[in-house]
């Protein structure tokens, strides 16, 4: 495995990509991850056109039809105001995916430049950036996010802001460690001796070489961010009903347990499969792109 991986790093880009793809197809769990992620993305993109009851997206009221068990007309049953649960869960994929990707990308955009700057600059600047980062890492993310949402006020936008504030320090850590290890590589020295500017070294040498662990981390984090948003939705600090967000749906459905238990099952299965997909994909990508850091 590690010999192949070394070659992955050394080979020219196109062959490297082909090898990576081949390695990915050989692992069952990676393929399962890829399949789940593709399915969730497809649901999110096609959602409004494939849902069986488009009128139920905004939360129409049809009390005659409420809390029906799964049937041919309603595959996953209906909720407390008679909306089709399948429809709402599919639309929920759109929200969760958008929010998950949004949080991860925003955290990376804040964290990566700061991390690279800290790693390359060294000295006092590094000290300031890293201590500031440590501050946010001094308390577990979920509690910090709740404290932030309590201060900002509940709602999906504030939940997103809180989670971005919780998430960026991880990227600073990653980028700083990577930049530190790359800084002393011979090819950086060579580029500097050849007269390359600082910006060019950053763009052409440091960034491409820190991209693999970044991709792996982002893939894992999208899953975790989806879970975190659903968690905030569940405890009532995230998306507000009737927004068809998975966590908020489960929080409502909880009130209809145990008699109408299928209501809570459907959104949970979707959260689980989405998070599982991104985790498996990230895990598979790590085996290929960044094999030396394979730690739980």
């Amino acid at each position: 495995m590690s010999a192949i991986a070394e070659e992955t790093v050394a080979a020219p880009p196109r062959r490297r990509l082909r090898l990576a793809l081949w390695l990915l197809t050989r692992s069952f769990s990676s393929m399962l991850g890829l399949f789940l992620v593709t399915a969730i993305v497809a649901l999110a993109l096609l959602g409004p056109w494939i849902v069986p009851y488009p009128d139920d997206v905004q939360g129409g009221i049809n009390l005659a039809n409420k809390l029906q068990p799964p049937s041919f007309a309603h595959w996953l049953g209906t909720d407390e105001v008679g909306n089709d649960i399948l429809t709402r869960v599919i639309i929920g994929a759109r929200i969760s995916l958008l929010v998950g990707i949004g949080i991860t990308v925003a955290a990376a955009i804040i964290g990566v430049p700061l991390g690279i700057l800290a790693g390359l600059a060294g000295g006092r600047l590094r000290e300031v950036i890293m201590r500031f980062t440590d501050l946010f890492l001094s308390v577990p993310g979920l509690v910090l996010a709740i404290a932030l949402v309590a201060a900002l006020g509940p709602g999906i936008v504030n939940a997103m802001i809180a989670l971005i504030l919780v998430w960026w320090p991880g990227y600073v850590r990653l980028a700083e460690a990577k930049a530190l290890s790359i800084r002393d590589e011979a090819y950086i020295e060579a580029a500097r001796v050849a007269g390359a500017s600082r910006a060019r070294i950053l763009r052409r040498h440091v960034l491409p070489n820190s991209i693999s662990p970044l991709i792996v981390k982002m893939s894992m984090d999208i899953g975790q961010a989806i879970l975190a948003v659903a968690s905030l939705g569940f405890i009532g600090l995230g998306a507000k009903p009737p927004t068809p967000e998975w966590g908020a749906m489960i929080s409502i459905a909880r009130g209809y347990m145990p008699d109408w238990w299928w209501y809570a099952v459907a959104p949970g299965v979707f959260i689980y499969l989405a998070v599982l997909g991104f985790n498996l994909l990230g895990d598979g990508l790590r085996d290929i792109l960044d094999p030396r850091s394979n730690r739980g």
């Binding site: 577990p140 509690v143 309590a150 006020g153 659903a230 909880r254 689980y272």
Partner: protein
């Protein structure tokens, strides 16, 4: 060694101060006005101003910060604006319930995670390894609040084996606390029926809470064991005729336990924070549920108190792990 310990403790102290600053900043960027909240929904302007003076909210920020720090140093977390009760007293009342839950979940995580990790490493790529791998990945991906609801449905509603939620039955008079941990208190008193009752209430939330921890301990332990079993010293031990059992349990596991220990330290704090979800599902009267109900009411002081307690736990756990590392791995002491 003394230098190593002092440095670690100093670092933890700095982190703690940072955490205090962070909670202060969060409480002060809040767009809603705490004085208005304290005065109540029907308060006029003069009543709001009076509340502002009463809670010291009219002072300049540096002065407020100084008061905040000195109050915290005396164990005073302020008052809940919604109920008027002291947050410190509330935390002292709710914390033992959370602590009991986290201890039990951690025991489950370690006692199951480590052996399963060892077995998967020994049977690498065998059926057991595949099953534990799926189990471990699921453990991290399952939404704990949803998993909790499913367990309630299965074990409380359908099978009727366990109670749905709470810490003890509403009809049971809670005994005078010794430690506040019901399982331990009832063991000390030898009250087995009460012990069994407390156990039946705690077991489902503990399982839910332990699952992500179990999964990550399992995975780290497995990959460390795989690594350790490939080492030269294992080959050497085998060549010397050391029994396989001893090679696994002493030579390999001892080395694999160091990174596992680091994960245990991290997970302690994360578990404290996941109690927010688990306690909400199971109506477990701990600091997690306290934080959630206060956050929904827009009441900061309790939320900040819980944040500080969880952060303190996180720091102390990591400090203990750091110190244990120093004891177990002599190379670190010189670094």
């Amino acid at each position: 060694m003394a230098g190593y310990i002092l440095r670690r403790i100093g670092l933890a102290g700095l982190m703690l101060f940072g955490l205090v600053c962070l909670t202060f900043v969060i409480a002060n960027v809040a767009p809603s006005d705490p004085a208005a909240l304290a005065a109540g929904p029907d308060a006029g302007r003069s009543q709001i101003e009076q509340a502002r003076r009463e809670y010291g909210l009219d002072k300049p920020l540096p002065e407020q910060f100084l008061r905040y720090v000195t109050d915290l140093a005396q164990g005073n977390f302020g008052r809940s604006i919604a109920t008027g009760r002291s947050v410190g007293t509330d935390l002292a009342r709710y914390f033992p319930a959370t602590l009991e839950l986290v201890i039990l979940a951690m025991l489950l995580g370690v006692l199951l995670g480590v052996p399963l990790g060892v077995v998967s490493a020994l049977r690498k790529d065998g059926p057991v390894d595949h099953v534990t791998r799926i189990f471990a990945v699921s453990g991290i991906a399952l939404p704990p609040f949803w998993f909790g609801l499913l367990l309630q449905l299965a074990f409380a509603t359908w099978l009727g084996l366990l109670p749905t939620s709470g810490r003890i039955s509403v009809f049971t008079e809670p005994p005078d606390p010794i430690t506040g941990l019901l399982l331990l208190d009832n063991t000390l008193r030898g009250q087995w029926p009460l012990f069994r009752e407390a156990l039946s209430y705690i077991i489902l939330p503990a399982i839910v809470l332990s699952l992500p921890c179990l999964a990550s301990i399992l995975r780290v332990n497995r990959s460390e064991m795989v690594e350790a079993l490939r080492m030269d010293y294992v080959v050497a031990a085998r060549a010397h005729g050391v029994t396989p059992w001893r090679i696994v349990m002493v030579h390999a596991l001892k080395n694999a336990m160091l990174p596992t220990l680091a994960i245990i330290g991290l997970r302690w704090g994360w578990m404290m924070s996941s109690t927010v979800l688990v306690e909400t599902v199971f109506d477990w009267p701990g600091i997690g549920l306290y934080a959630v109900s206060s956050a929904i009411a827009g009441d900061f002081k309790p939320v900040m108190g819980v944040t500080l307690i969880v952060g303190l736990n996180f720091m102390v756990a990591n400090l203990i792990v750091d110190l244990l590392y120093g004891v177990l791995d002599p190379r670190l002491r010189r670094a």
